[in-house]
């Protein structure tokens, strides 16, 4: 991906997205009462304005692409092993989804301990022992602070409750 192709990609995406908003998303998910007197007061007015602006910026980006001279400089995040990097991204996504799902079941402290270990393994830390100790201590310390100093009702889960 170069600076020129990035502009094209973003421009086309913006235009398609604007079209999606106007044709599908806004009529489907924004409701307006039937008795709105003036169009500028309608709840629909602002979303349509934004969709219009999206389209405008998309077109300007495409125009910019058309007029930009290709400089050939590749703008890619360096990563020596692409498939492994993609697998790690996927792994992190799984960790996050699992966290959201486990938080009400296991409680925040236990879920965070597991998530800490999982993500430390994922990024291949050079200090596995310290990571394990931190994985236990950091969520516990945060729990003590938030629950007992700040008085926040930290979710406890269905199995093991902390004092």
């Amino acid at each position: 991906m170069t600076s020129k192709s990035l502009q094209l990609r973003l421009g086309v995406t913006a235009c398609v997205f604007a079209l999606f908003l106007v044709v599908f998303a806004i009529p489907q998910f924004v409701s307006a009462p039937s008795n709105v007197g003036k169009i500028i007061l309608s709840p629909l007015f602002w979303p349509y304005t934004i969709a219009g602006l999206t389209c405008l910026i998309g077109l300007l980006l495409i125009l910019g692409w058309w007029r930009t001279v290709e400089d050939g400089v590749v703008l890619e995040e360096p990563s020596e092993n692409r498939p492994a990097a993609i697998a790690r991204l996927f792994g992190l996504a799984v960790i996050m989804i699992a966290m959201v799902w486990l938080l009400p079941v296991l409680g925040m402290v236990w879920t965070c301990m597991l998530a800490f270990v999982a993500s430390a393994v994922l990024v291949q830390t050079r200090h596995p022992k310290i990571a394990l100790i931190c994985a236990v201590l950091v969520p516990l310390a945060l729990y003590v602070f938030f629950a007992h100093v700040a008085g926040v009702a930290i979710p406890q889960g269905e199995f093991v409750r902390l004092p």
Binding site: A32, P33, I133, G151, A153, V160, R161
Partner: protein, 325 residues
Amino acid sequence: MKSKLIGLLGAAGIALSATAALAEYPERPINMVIPYGAGGATDISARTIAEPLGKAVGKALVMANVTGAGGATGSVTVQNAKPDGYTMLFARVGSHSVNPAMKETLPYTLDDFRFVTVYEINPVACAVAPNSGIESMDDLIAKAKEGGVTFASSGVGSLPQLASVMVLKEFGIEDPLGQVTHIPQKGGGAATTAVLNGTATFLCTNSSALASFVANGQIKPLLVTTAEPVPGFDAPTSADVGKPNLEKLVGWTGIAGPDDLPDDVAAKWGEWMAQAASDEKFVDQMTKRGSIINVMSPEDANSFIQNQYETFRALADELGMRIKG
């Protein structure tokens, strides 16, 4: 480290099995959800009663503000909670009688909750800016009939919106929605500011929100909706103007749980509330803020709210104020 963790797990496991052996309610801290933000009327009221109430309960009360959508987000949290009495809600007039009356899209109804008490009543007052040239309700009504009058509220489906419409209707404006313009604001503070800076002509809201402005002479009260006068408010009462119907127009704060809350839990709350509300310091602080302390039993609370809801619902239906989308 590991052995410590196992020990902790073991200890917690024992605690857990003790739970199963039908312990006396409450045997752990109770989560109290406040569906409005810090510093608001509900928040201050809830945190003031938390202290004597905590003593009566004997366990800690953990206060949790869950704000959003005019109180709906917090209410839904409790609606979906386990009915074990460990998640209770500070319900408010806005979230539990105005909102259900006005919003068809609301994710809950009154039937989803079981009220254990209503402990606080707030009179409603209507006020204008002193430089507006409006001296009385009659002036306001005359002006409203001419057109160009606006009123502020803390948002769609809030008490100030419904209160203003109801007052106008009672004073003989047939079509308040058509003749007077509603300018919703974000929150109660912004609503009062809108009257101060002339964005809106008047507003009707809880007297406690207006008290300091009235004392400072920045705002002029025109009417209070209770039958008795409100201290500090030099304005006619609903009895003075002969509109007893307006007495239903009051703010309140109560405590509710999910609808299948067990009877013994509800009964316990009744006892605790009676004990907490007799605390002198609490009564003193609340009265200073312009509230009337009046602890209702679970039955009284339910019929009081139902009654207010039906009045509001009838008004909303008659004027076509229901929000459907």
